[in-house]
Structures are given as C-alpha cells and as structure tokens.
C-alpha cells in the first residue's frame, strides 16, 4: 500500500513519487525539499535543463553558491540521459549511479535525487522505458541509508494507464509540507483537487490558522475542497469560518466537504445545510 508523506518527512531509502498538476504545486514541494537539503548540507542531484535560479519553488534564488560548493548538481538532460535526442534508460541509470557514488565518496550524509519523467512518455517506447528505469531505481534507492529520490510527474502529460504504472512503482507518494501543524490540527494544501487536507480537531482555538489557510487559496478558485477524512471534530465556529470564507469570496464560491466522518456529518444534518451557505457535501 502506498504511503502519503509530507515532503519534509521523506527518509533515506524512500523512492517517492510526486505527481503534480501545476508549477505552483511543483514549487510547493520541490522548492522546500531542495532548500532544506542544502541547509543541512545534503547532496542534491537534479536532472534538469534549468539554471540554478530557475528551480521549482526557488525561482529567482541564486543557488550558484551551492553549485560551486558541490552541494547542488544540476545535470542537463542531454548529458544525463539522452542519446541522439532520445531517452536512454541505461545512460540515465549510469548517470545516477555515478553521481551517487561520487557523493558517497565525498562523504555526504544524505543524497537527494530528483528528476521529472513526464516528457519521456511523449517518446517512442516511453512507457516501457519509464517502467524499466523505475524498477532499477527502486532497487538502487530502497536499500540505501543515504539516498532519497523523488520522481516528479506532470500529470497533465500523463494520461491513460501511465498514472497507475507510476503509482505502482512507488511506495511513497509525496505531499506538500503542512501549512500549519500542531498536536491538535494539521492543515495541508492540496492541488488535485484544489483545497486543504485537514487532520485533527477544528475549533475556535485554531480559527485563525484555519481562516488563514482558506484565505491563502487562490482568489479565483470557485470550488474549494476540504478533505475531512482525518478530522474528528468540527466546532460550530469552524463551520462559521467556512461560511464566512464563501461569503467573502462571493456567490460563485463553494466549499466542498469530502470524506466527512458520519459523526461530523450529523452536525450538518441537524443544523441544516441550508444554514451553512456555500458549503456542499462531496463524495465519500
């Protein structure tokens, strides 16, 4: 079974998958992961044509110093995995193995490895080449006590059975770091669908944090999904925060509550959904 884990909680040996649907979402996960890796002086290896100031979530931040210090290696696609313009799985795996070996020789405690693989599907035999690579990569990363890998996939370029193919190759799926986290409540931004994943109890003591998290969602969003699967308590005040949010956002805004616990649902049923303007119940 696949485990979902905030990017901050990835561990050596994790061969994780990060499906994303926007540059914002990609930046929200990859940016903090690279930044934190550099902070704790892990080796970060990124297969990308991007320049050091163009990395997801870190756009405009000049990471040239990290490149110069050998903490960050940005390896262009042509050098890492292309042969005559085509994706070459053997070359890709050899590049990764070389880079890992070099980092280990340099005695880095942690090695962070990432690349985006969606573009490979556009090439002939893309599916089988990705399948082959992911198997080999898993075999290399899973037993490691120093290497963490994130395979990034732009799901807008990954239809059909490719999603489930990639899903099956990774035991860990990466989530963004929570916007707020304490023993009572964890709030994590979600992108597919757009909204928040909540865990714990929402009451007046977390009103501001909850309102802030809702308020931070893009103002043009018409449907906000709140995943309440792990929420065990919602106070009347918290429902008030949601209705206040929809009122401020205007008549087109609605908040879809998903995976609502039956006990929480009973509050909505008794009070009446019509008394909670802008709130709708979604699937699950």
């Amino acid at each position: 079974m696949q485990v979902c884990r905030p990017v901050r909680d990835l561990l050596p040996g994790d061969h994780a998958w990060f499906p994303f649907a926007s540059e914002e979402e990609q930046g929200h996960v990859i940016g903090p992961w690279i930044e934190h890796g550099l902070e704790i002086r892990d080796k970060v290896i990124y297969i990308t044509d991007a320049e050091p100031w163009e990395l997801p979530g870190l756009y405009g931040r000049d990471l040239g110093f990290a490149v110069r210090q050998g903490l960050l290696s940005l390896i262009p696609l042509g050098e890492a995995c292309l042969t005559q313009g085509m994706f070459d799985p053997q070359k890709y795996l050899a590049t990764l193995n070389d880079e890992i070996a070099k980092a280990q020789e340099q005695e880095f405690r942690g090695i962070r490895l990432t690349a985006e693989n969606s573009w490979i599907f556009d090439q002939p035999f893309g599916d089988s080449r990705v399948d082959f690579c992911e198997q080999r990569l898993d075999a290399a990363v899973a037993p490691s006590v120093s290497v963490t890998a994130i395979c990034q996939t732009d799901v807008r370029r990954c239809g059909g059975g490719r999603f489930s193919l990639l899903d099956s190759h990774h035991e860990v799926r990466v989530l963004p770091n929570p916007d707020f986290d304490d023993p009572q409540l964890t709030i994590t931004r979600t992108y597919q669908p757009l909204g928040l994943h909540l865990r714990g109890e929402i009451d007046v003591t977390r009103r501001l944090r909850f309102a802030e998290a809702l308020g931070s969602l893009p103002p043009t969003t018409e449907t906000v999904c709140l995943d309440l699967a792990e929420v065990t308590f919602v106070s009347l005040d918290a429902f008030g925060v949601i209705t206040d949010f929809t009122r401020k956002r205007g008549p087109r805004c609605r908040v879809l509550l998903r995976h609502v616990d039956p006990a929480v649902r009973s509050i909505i049923d008794v009070v009446g959904l019509h008394r909670l303007p802008g709130i709708e119940l979604g699937d699950g």
Binding site: Q184, V204, F239
Partner: protein, 315 residues
Amino acid sequence: MPLTHAALSYEDHDAFLETAVPFLREGAERGDPVLAVTAGKTELLRRELAAYDGAITYVDSADFYLHPARIVARVLALAEREAATGGAVRLLGEQCWRERDPLETQEWQRVEALVNVVFAGTGAHILCAYDLGLPPDVLRAAALTHPQMAQGATRMPNPAYQDPRDYLSTTDGRPLDPAPADSALVPVHSPDLRDLRALVAVHARRHGLGGPLLHQLLVAVTEVATNALHHGTPPVTLRLWPEPDRLVCEVADEGDWSPPGPAETGNVPPRAHEIRLGLWAVRMLSGPVQVRTGPHGTRVRIHTPVPRAIAASPT
C-alpha cells in the same frame, strides 16, 4: 400577512371537531399546505374530511413533536417558503402533554410562546388543541401563550394572553433545580477544550451515549464553553451528572449577561444571512437547554437524552 395562533379548548370529540374541521377545510380549499397533528384523532378527522383526503397531511403527535427546536425550524422553513409564494401554512397541533415529564412540558410550553415571535409575519395559521381534562398548569400555560381562543369558525381575543417575551422571561427566570452534590465539577480555564471534550466523552459513554449523539453533545458543550470563556466572567465551570434517561452538562460563569430577547438565547432560528448559529444550534443539537442569566452569573444547562434502550442496558 399576520400569524394567527389560537387555542382550541375542548371537552369532547364533538367540541374538537366543531372547530378543527372548518379550520382544516378552509386550508384545503385554499390549496395551502395543511397539517393535522393530533393525539390519536386522525381517523376521526379523516371521516369528517373525507372529501379533502390528499389535501391534508395527518401525523400523530408522538411522531411529530420529537424535538422542540427542530420542529420549529422545520415548520418555519415550510411557512417561510409558502409565504414567499403567497401561501400560508395551516397547522392543527395537539401535543401529547400527558406523556411529557416536567422539563419537556416546560420546553413545549416555551415553544407555544415562541410561536408568536418566530412565525410572526409568515401568515401561518396555527390552531392548538387542548383537552380540558389536561392538568391545570398545562391549561394555564395555554391560556398565557395563545393570543386567540377558537370556537367553531370564530376567533376571540384571549384576555389572558401574555406577551411572549414576558412569558419567556418569567419561565426562564425560574431557578434551576440544584445540581446534585456528587456531580462532577470541572474548572474551565483554557480555551483549548480538547481535554474538556475528552472528559465529557468519558462521562457520556459511561451513560450509554456514543456515535453521532455524543458528537452533537461535544459540539454543543464546546460552543457553550467557548461563549463562557470569551464573553463571560471567570471562573467558568462545567458540571456533569446523570438523570433518568438523560445526561446533564451545565456550563456556568459569573458574568452579568442580560440578553435583550429570546433570539439572543437561541430560541429563534437565525435568518439566512446570519453566520453565527450559536445557542440556536446548541438547542438543535441537544435535548432541552435551559439558560439562566442575571447579575449573579450565566448558566447553560444542556440535557442530552440517552436512548432508553441504551440507558437500560448494562454498561
């Protein structure tokens, strides 16, 4: 259109039918939604109003008067919907007073007074039947809470009628029975109410409450305790104790809140644009809720019915 709210006092079935039948018939002929809620008189009415079968909805009192706040909200929603399209709800109601304990009786009597406030302007026609063999205190309260008396098709002003705000002020001014000496008493200091909820849950489970009913109690207690912490004066306390078929939770503070009207104590359903549901939602989520305010503090006592089957089973 103004509300009509009349009491139908009857000695026997003939006297009941003399007033109830023309009331229901008029509504059916107008094409308005007509509800006939009686204590076992459905067949009697059906026979008299056979020509209007299908135009009148018959319900037994025991199935209708299950929860004061919820039934008010339901009928009000219907009345407002009808009023918006030029219609008027017509309700013949008869409580099962003999089956009520004193607290329930008081709650339903409060509803009779509140009808005059809550339904004002909906144009609803509400006729409440009272058997003259009912206990005197029930008949006395009926006289105080109905602006009109009905006989046949005639409506007479009721000289005993009391302004509902005065009635509620008197009722809600009566002292509460003292909490048992062995009730659990917990100081509420912190706005973080997780521990308080955990404590209430332990007591509630011990007395057979669980699932959605327990959750509703926790939401209600959280709301009342939050109000006390934010708007009351310390010390804030929570008391819990069991009563037959009920669990009682009382939140008290030493503030001097004097609510200006029944809406502030949650007796009136909020308007559509109102975001704060407050004590009204507490009343919706709980059994009877007693609110006592004044210079010596505020007490909100929440009675949560424990389903009989659960209460009777060993824990």
